[in-house]
Amino acid sequence: MTEGGIKRRGVVTSLGQGFLRSETTVAIVLFALLAGLPVVVSGYTIYILPQYLLYGMLAMSLGLLWGFVGILSFGQAAFFALGAYAMGLSETWGLGPNPAYVGLMASLVTGAVLAAAIGYFLFSVDVRHVYFVLVTLALSIMVEQITVSQSQVTGGYNGMYVPRMSLLTGASGALSLSKDAAIYYFILPVVATVYSLLRWVLARPFGKVLVGIRENEDRLIALGFRTPLYKTAAFAVSGAVAGLAGALYGTHANFVSPSLGGVLFSTQVVVWVAIGGRESLLGALLGAVAVSALSTYLSALIPNYWQLALGIVFIAVIIAFKGGVAGAVMRVAERSAGRKEHG
């Protein structure tokens, strides 16, 4: 490689960090715009956007795992569905002074504990790559089957009604989130907070070790890192985020059914993240929002062919940019800045 080549690549690095700064800027602008949106828009958009944002949160739970630790999971929908059922059951059983908070906590804990248990057993015996994918795939199938078969608790195929949560205890109506704008302004800050927390975690030594696992796990082991514990912790965080997203989704959609935990939905999550760009949490979030919105639009426009159209978009994005849209943006930014450096 030529001198110039090395120098140019050298610039790329400092830009890798520069990209994170610009991602922060984009994220702040984006969340600010979303916060102002209900002022100018109302109706279906404001109703449906929180659901897309929760899909985005689910996508971030996978992005953390797949993009930063290098572990692909086809089981994210399972945690999402379990979170939604935890919310539904808490409301049904009327747990605590405000069942919604119990439901939210339960969804976090369920996701984290289940993921930690699965992760610990698999990672400590060094299950990697495709074998891990297969186990998570089985997890989705199991959750779907169990929610179908335990119909006396879950409502089986018919699903389960989940009421809209309210922020305070007491009679319904005490700061109820039944209005679309009200729950919009509850879910948006939660998603923004989860995004910020995940970014913060990734900037910590813990997050840097996760990236090291993605890059060269054997090197880390030989430097004295118990990588199975790191991977277990990352999977637990991912499970908790997915579970929380599910609980909020349940209370927003007023409904949870077994297909929410299924393989099909899990695959969709992978598609969102692949399109959005797995090495950027914002990319994963926007990938989910954009693809979901596009699905809704296309399914109204061309009811018979929309899935085909979406499939073509997916293939095109994957062929054109391996790192998804965020990866492509990153490269363009690096190239233009590299040119500036030289010119």
Partner: protein, 239 residues
Amino acid sequence: MGELLRTDGLTKRFRGIVANDCIDFTIGLGEVRCIIGPNGAGKTTLISMISGHLSPSAGRIWFKNQEITTRSVVRRAKMGIARKFQTPSVFDRLTVHQNLELASFGKPMEVAERAVRLEEVLAITRLCEMRRTVASTLSHGQRQWLEIAMLLANRAELLLLDEPTAGMTAEETRATGNLIRMLASRHNLTVLIIEHDINFVRDLRAPVTVLHLGRVLTSGSLDEVAANEQVRDVYLGRE
């Protein structure tokens, strides 16, 4: 010089092939030792058993007077045994500084202490100017140095270097020899090196252990082992 590492009757069999046969080996604190021997002599097998990447079929290993025979790679690394792999194993997409920082997370350190240590390591390994360079774009020799630098950032006490000068230019090889001598003399590190380049071994002026067919043929200074008839027959004589 206190004893840092000792092996006792260390043996490794792979399906009937004896790769290491009853190796008794000792290395003292702050010592530099080269292991030489023809291909298939069992050099990498020996290092792998010390690092924990292979478990011995028989025999025992002590490090800092503790038996480590059955301890995992991670536990040995935490005790201070660090290995440089034969082909440089670094974090390709991270910068030099990020590589070192990550390696340093392997041991508990204060933030300030870590910063000082990383600067020191960068200076020792002459990677200061490359700190922002992505590892994949470094030259082969620089990658070898980066991996050694990572072991230092990790606060290793026993460095196991598997052919550290492979693929290096003559100048880089000389500089590597100086680096290793300095690590031992000034930083009191213990270094065990597998090496093929006899000129490099001579420059190091370090004691040599010759392996042949999985056994220790002889040990001593390079001149002593070079004078050994058996060594000339199996190894050096062919040059």
